[in-house]
Subunit: 200 residues, 2 copies
């Protein structure tokens, strides 16, 4: 095998990243070798800076380099609605639609007894404190995935929010837009019938 | 969109890498955020060290951190056979088979008039000089891919090697092991008939 140590080490670093196989890792190594030394130094500095300076937003727990993230700090966002999501990637997904102008709360995980993750291991307490402190909040959208863990987490949070007298909603789940019904699974079809909308 | 600048910059760095889409890039960013600061520093140092210390082997032109790479410097390798490949990734592919014990020569590209890459842009000269200097070399295997550029490069090198009185061979091309003939393309089937082997 290829014995050059640092090259091998770098390939291992890349292949340890999520979704990167050994072949892609080596492609990335050779890509790095073709870059200017200055560019690689810049990449290295960005990595260190991101790792050192990124913290969680004091309000929504999303990653940020400031005390408060750019969404929570944006005066134009509607602070009356909080969309509760599993992780920062979900925030990106919602933001890409350019159609949600409320704020978020990032749980950084879902309740999962099998993996030993209880309600205290994810940012539920921070959500409740935030809502209790902020009397403007009118609605909380529970936007976790429709998986066992996602449902359980949503139900758990809904129970906690019940006494607070605010609207608690859940995303609509049904047939994906652009997909074919023949390929949808049973549970999705069942949900799409249960939650059908009247047309006329 | 997600406005945290360094995070966005790091996602861009990752998505600029070969085969990495925007979604994978963000996954990698969040992976980095979950790592210890020390581990990230180590990654950054490896990147810089690889970029600074990697050079081309004086003999075979493959990437190495020494003057001579670990394969060319290995006394157990058969120095009489040189396998000529397009790039360092191909060396890894051959090495993984654990069945070739000769040495390599890495061209770092293929002749491609469309892309403006002539014979001087790739390491052909170094191969010829190496063979002329080293009287032990008995065979050169032209192991470029069976694409237009790969064939053209192999034919070009074969012509240069003709006066040197050594065996020049090309890899066998045919139906891939484990694949089904119904899915093979016409050229592959044609080659597999042309180069058929007598059994009895």
């Amino acid at each position: 095998m290829y014995k050059e140590n640092n090259l091998k080490k770098l390939a291992k670093i890349f292949s340890d990243m999520p979704g990167i196989g050994v072949k892609s890792a080596w492609k990335m190594v050779f890509y790095i070798l073709k870059l200017d030394k200055e560019k690689v130094l810049e990449i290295a500095n960005t990595l260190v800076s991101v790792s050192k300076n990124t913290k969680k937003c004091r309000i929504c727990q999303n990653y940020t380099e400031e005390e408060i993230c750019s969404i929570c700090g944006d005066a134009k966002r509607n602070k009356e609605i909080i969309c509760v999501v599993e992780n920062p990637r979900d925030v990106i997904s919602f933001e890409k639609t350019n159609s949600f102008f409320g704020t978020y709360h990032v749980l950084h995980g879902l309740i999962s007894p099998i993996e030993g993750i209880g309600p205290r291991e994810i940012a539920i307490k921070e959500l409740i404190i935030n809502i209790k402190k902020n009397k403007n909040i009118k609605e909380v959208i529970l936007a976790t995935s429709p998986t066992t863990e996602g449902e359980a987490t949503a139900m758990y949070i809904a129970k906690l929010l019940k006494p607070l007298n605010i609207v608690v909603s859940r995303l609509a789940y049904g047939i994906s837009i652009g997909s074919e019904i023949q390929y949808a699974d049973n549970m999705t079809i069942l949900k799409s019938i249960e939650n059908r909308n009247k047309l006329i």
